[in-house]
Symmetry: C2
Subunit: 313 residues, 2 copies
């Protein structure tokens, strides 16, 4: 019933209310969400997806907003999906939306949505990609995924993008720390934001040094470091031009298709896992687990044989 | 065969080589790992598990090492499981081990293991808990989980602890940012590390203010903020005493059993998912997916109906 309230043709025409409703619909795992996503799927694949990630406090939101404005000045429609790892309890995602709203203002060509990562039922990166599909089908040209933190799921979301930008600040530590945080592998390039602060040049050097150690040849993409001071709008054009250089590289090297194939594979794996989990944990099995729990805690059963028993039923 | 090389009785006696081998065995998902874990499971449940998390650069490693030394001075055996979100490619986890080694030195009562989160097959928090079980069975009294970053999986690991400590620095931003990063919900208390830096008192105040907004009554645990300068060993005893105060609260309030039950539940869900995934993605299904991939990319099929088709077979 709810499904009928989302008019697919209106969504495809770019109607903002339909976009907002469709994302909520998918986020809340309404019955029929999958049917709806299947219907719009053929209208996706046109938007360019950019991941913006990095440690908290690096200025990702500011940079994302400025980048959105830049693309607006090129007359491109921009969707922003910001993943805030908060639950409904703290209301962080909602707060995030409000803070953002005031910054990019009420431009009809920008759609901003915060998604809470905690307390969600299905896989986070599944829902994030689905929200991106909705924006894609609605005719948004650029989709910016902004993820707080450097965690596994957050990196996965950034990795679902065509171009992934890792934002650091001079205080983020040196290249070794970025390497330890797993950022080297997902970054298509780095932004050293707040580069007016002391230590910026040294931090850039140390990232470049580590980047130089990566195996590469003349045909491979060389990640670079771009300096910015997003709060003052400095370096935004350079970032946009680096994104565009990477986009051209992907297109000319055939990497674009390879990346999208790889991403689709992991996406299907996630859909399969989600479907299994939802079907498997019916009320019967939940009840069985509840009954067996005390035996596991008292060490009379092991978690492994209980899992096995549940799977066999 | 490999399994036979780990002598369970030697492990239970606390033999370090057996511990190291057992963790590698489990980490590499060797056949028989589950059988092995089932065998030792009855000897677990005695160690107290402490999660140390927070943004990169907050000084978690230093603080963890100092805390380990403190517990050693109480004659307790300490296991440290550090999750470095790096893949075998960058070798970050290995590097981490080496850096750590020199700090805590070759004390026989401390066992340190870095686990890489990227590139691992099964669920990260599953393996981390299994490594903790091995240390627990081997007679380690305290297990410290140290996780880099504030991402979803990393928070899950911290959440698998009895007491979770969130380490911040004055530069981490204010309470609102900590809230947005989802740290408020997992923190049993906060440590403001590097508190000799400017802005420390203000940062502590802002966290305390947000903490005060949380719903609570006289029976509930009130998270506090402890100041430290771990690099100089300042505040370590206060941290240990806050951990101990929380431990007493858990025991007297009955929260300890509730927490462990809840954790066991999520642990079994993870075991079930892992078992399903491993069984499901056999070579046949992998091949089928590879064949269907181009049709999905060209929008002739949707990811949903392909997932459905694979699940039906």
């Amino acid at each position: 019933m709810v499904k009928n309230s989302i008019d697919v043709s209106k969504l495809l025409a770019g109607d903002r209310r339909s976009v907002a409703r469709a994302i909520s619909f998918v986020e809340n795992e309404n019955a029929g969400a999958e049917q709806f996503l299947s219907e719009i799927y053929q209208h996706t694949g046109n938007a360019y997806r950019i991941g913006i990630t990095g440690p908290p406090g690096a200025g990702k939101s500011t940079l994302t907003n400025k980048l959105a404005r830049y693309y607006r000045s090129q007359n491109l429609k921009v969707g922003i999906i910001a993943v805030d790892p908060t639950s409904p309890f703290t209301g962080g995602a909602l707060l995030g939306d409000r803070v953002r709203m005031s910054e990019v203002e009420m431009d009809q060509g920008v759609f901003i949505r915060s998604m809470a990562s905690r307390g969600s039922l299905g896989g986070l990166s599944k829902k994030t990609r689905e929200a991106a599909d909705i924006l894609d089908a609605a005719g948004f040209h650029i989709i910016l995924f902004e993820t707080v933190g450097v965690g596994q799921s957050e990196l996965d979301i950034a990795g679902a993008a065509d171009t992934t930008v890792v934002v650091l600040v001079p205080e983020s530590g040196d290249g070794i720390q970025a390497m330890k945080a797993g950022l080297m592998e997902i970054a298509d390039f780095f932004v050293m934001n707040k580069s007016d602060r002391p230590g910026a040049d040294q931090a850039v050097m140390s990232i470049k040094m580590i980047l130089g150690f990566r195996p590469h040849d003349e045909h491979s993409w060389m990640a670079d470091v771009v300096k910015s001071t997003a709060s003052e709008g400095l370096g935004i054009e350079k970032i946009a031009s680096e994104i565009s250089r990477h986009r051209n590289f992907l297109a000319s090297s055939g990497e674009f298709e390879k990346r999208r194939s790889k991403q689709m594979k992991s996406r299907i794996e996630e859909i399969v896992s989600d479907k299994f989990t939802i079907t498997f944990w019916n009320s019967d099995r939940k009840q069985q687990l509840d009954q067996l729990l005390s035996k596991i805690i008292s060490r009379n059963r092991t978690p492994y044989d209980v899992a096995e028993e549940l799977l066999k039923k």
